[in-house]
Symmetry: C2
Subunit: 263 residues, 2 copies
C-alpha cells in the first residue's frame, strides 16, 4: 500500500449524497482516500469560509486506505480542515463532487463544488471538480465515473499547472451514450433571476431565489465553450484559473495610474 497517492475527496451535497459515494468509489481505485463533507447540502456556497462559528469534525469510517469524516463547515472549510488538521502531508490530488446539477458557464462562480477544487489549486494541489447535469437524488453517475477515471489517471500522470484546476461537467445520458470529452472555455452566460415574492401569515413579504440560465453566446455558435460541448453530448473540461487577473486589460488601464508627486 506504500507510495499510493493520497486523494482528498469532498463535495457540496452533504454526507449522504450519492454523487459523493460514486466519486469516492473511483478515487479508491487510484490511491488512499480521505473523504470529508459537510453534513448537509451546501449548494451555492461558492468559496465561502466559516469565520464566526467554530468547526467540528467527526470520523465516520476508518479502514486501511480510507477515512471518512463529516464536518459542519463549507466545502472550502472541509479542504482547509483536511490540509491543516486531518492529513499529515498535503494530498496528491483534490477531487470534489460529483455534484448533483450543472456547474458549467458562470455557475462555476456560485458552486461549492468548484470552490473546494479552487481551494486545492490555490494550495498548488492538482484539483478537479465533477458535476452531472441532473438534480435527481438517485441519478445515474456511471458516465461521470468513467470520465473521472480517465481524467484522474491523466492528472496523476501529467499533473496540472500550479493555480489551475479542472471544472468537469457531464450531460445526463444513459450509460454509453456520451460522445466523448472536450477541452472547453467557460461559456458566456448568466442566471436570470425571477424572485418569487410571497407573503407570510404575519403579512410580511419574503422572496425565494429562483431563475434560469441564459447563454449569451450567439445562437448555434459558442463553439468550444462548455455549454456547446454539453449540448452535443460531450463531457466538458474547463481549465479554471485561481488568478483572476484580466491580464489583457493591464496595459489598457495604465493611464488610470497616478503618483502623488505628479498631481
Amino acid at each position: 500500500m506504500e507510495n499510493r497517492p493520497i486523494i482528498l475527496v469532498t463535495n457540496d451535497d452533504g454526507v449522504r449524497a450519492k454523487g459523493w459515494r460514486c466519486l469516492i468509489e473511483v478515487a479508491r481505485k487510484f490511491g488512499d482516500v480521505v473523504a470529508i463533507s459537510s453534513k448537509e447540502a451546501m449548494s451555492g456556497m461558492s468559496h465561502a469560509i466559516t469565520i464566526k462559528e467554530p468547526l467540528r469534525v467527526k470520523l465516520l469510517e476508518d479502514e486501511p486506505g480510507y477515512k471518512k469524516y463529516v464536518s459542519n463547515g463549507t466545502p472550502v472549510d472541509c479542504v482547509k480542515l483536511a490540509f491543516n488538521s486531518l492529513l499529515e502531508e498535503k494530498p496528491d490530488l483534490v477531487l470534489s463532487g460529483i455534484n448533483h446539477g450543472s456547474n458549467s458557464s458562470s455557475s462555476v462562480l456560485y458552486s461549492g463544488t468548484m470552490g473546494a477544487a479552487m481551494e486545492g489549486a490555490v494550495n498548488h494541489i492538482p484539483s478537479i471538480g465533477f458535476s452531472l447535469l441532473s438534480y435527481e437524488r438517485d441519478a445515474d453517475f456511471r458516465n461521470v465515473q468513467e470520465v473521472a477515471e480517465k481524467l484522474i489517471g491523466r492528472v496523476l500522470k501529467e499533473g496540472l499547472p500550479q493555480g489551475v484546476c479542472l471544472n468537469v461537467n457531464v450531460p445526463d445520458l444513459p450509460q454509453g451514450e456520451l460522445e466523448g470529452i472536450r477541452i472547453c472555455s467557460q461559456a458566456n452566460g448568466y442566471w436570470k433571476e425571477e424572485f418569487q415574492k410571497r407573503t407570510d401569515p404575519h403579512g410580511r413579504d419574503y422572496y425565494w431565489l429562483t431563475g434560469f440560465f441564459q447563454n449569451r453566446e450567439p445562437d448555434g455558435k459558442g463553439e468550444g465553450t462548455d455549454e456547446w460541448a454539453l449540448e452535443r453530448k460531450f463531457a466538458s473540461v474547463v481549465p479554471v484559473n485561481t488568478d483572476l487577473t484580466a491580464r489583457h486589460l493591464l496595459r489598457g488601464l495604465k493611464h488610470w495610474e497616478e503618483k502623488q508627486d505628479e498631481k
Copy 2:
C-alpha cells in the same frame, strides 16, 4: 435630477459598517443611490447565494435620490435582489465595500465584497469593490474615499469591458500619505491556516479557522502585483475576470480529448 446615473451600493460588513456609509457618501456625489446590505457582517461569504432560505428586504431610508435597504441575504443575494426586485432598470454602476480588511491577492476568492462586484460584472454592469487594509471598526476611510472618487469618475466616463470588474485595495495610512494608484495583477499567494483546536465543556473538540497570508512572489520581487503596490503605499487596482477559463491551457490539454467512435 434626471439623467443622473443609478448606482447600487452594497457591502459585506453589515448595515452598520462605517465603510459602507463612507462609500454611499461618495456614490451620492455621482448619482442616485440604491444601497442594500446584509444586516450582519458576511465576511468570507465569497459568491455564495441563498437557496434554501427565503430572503427578506426592508426599506430603512427613503429620500429623493437615495434609498437604503437591509436584507438577510449574502452580498450576492443583495445584488440579485436589487437587479430583479428593487430597481426598475439595471443600474449604471455597482459599488461594493468599503470593506474593513484587505481583499488583495487570492483573498479575492473568499471575499463577499468582491463576490458582489463580480455579480455585477456577470450581469455586464461596470462594478468596483473597495477594501481598506484595516479591520478597525472606526478606521479612517478618507484615502479610500479619494481613490473611489477618482475611479468612479473614470468608470462612469470610460466604462469597463463586459465581464470584468475592479478589485481596489488601499493601504491603511494617514490621510494624504498615499503614494498614488497602480494598475496591478493579483499576487500569487495563499492563506496558511492554523486551526486552533479547543475542547468544549462536554469534552468535544472544535476548531477555529485562523491563519495568515503567505506571499509566494519571490522576495522583493512580484513587481506589478497588488501586494507589491500596497507595500509601497499605493492603492492597487486589479481588473478581475468573471470568465475563469485558463485560456493558455486550452491547447496544451487538447490531447486529453476523446470521441466515442475513436475509442
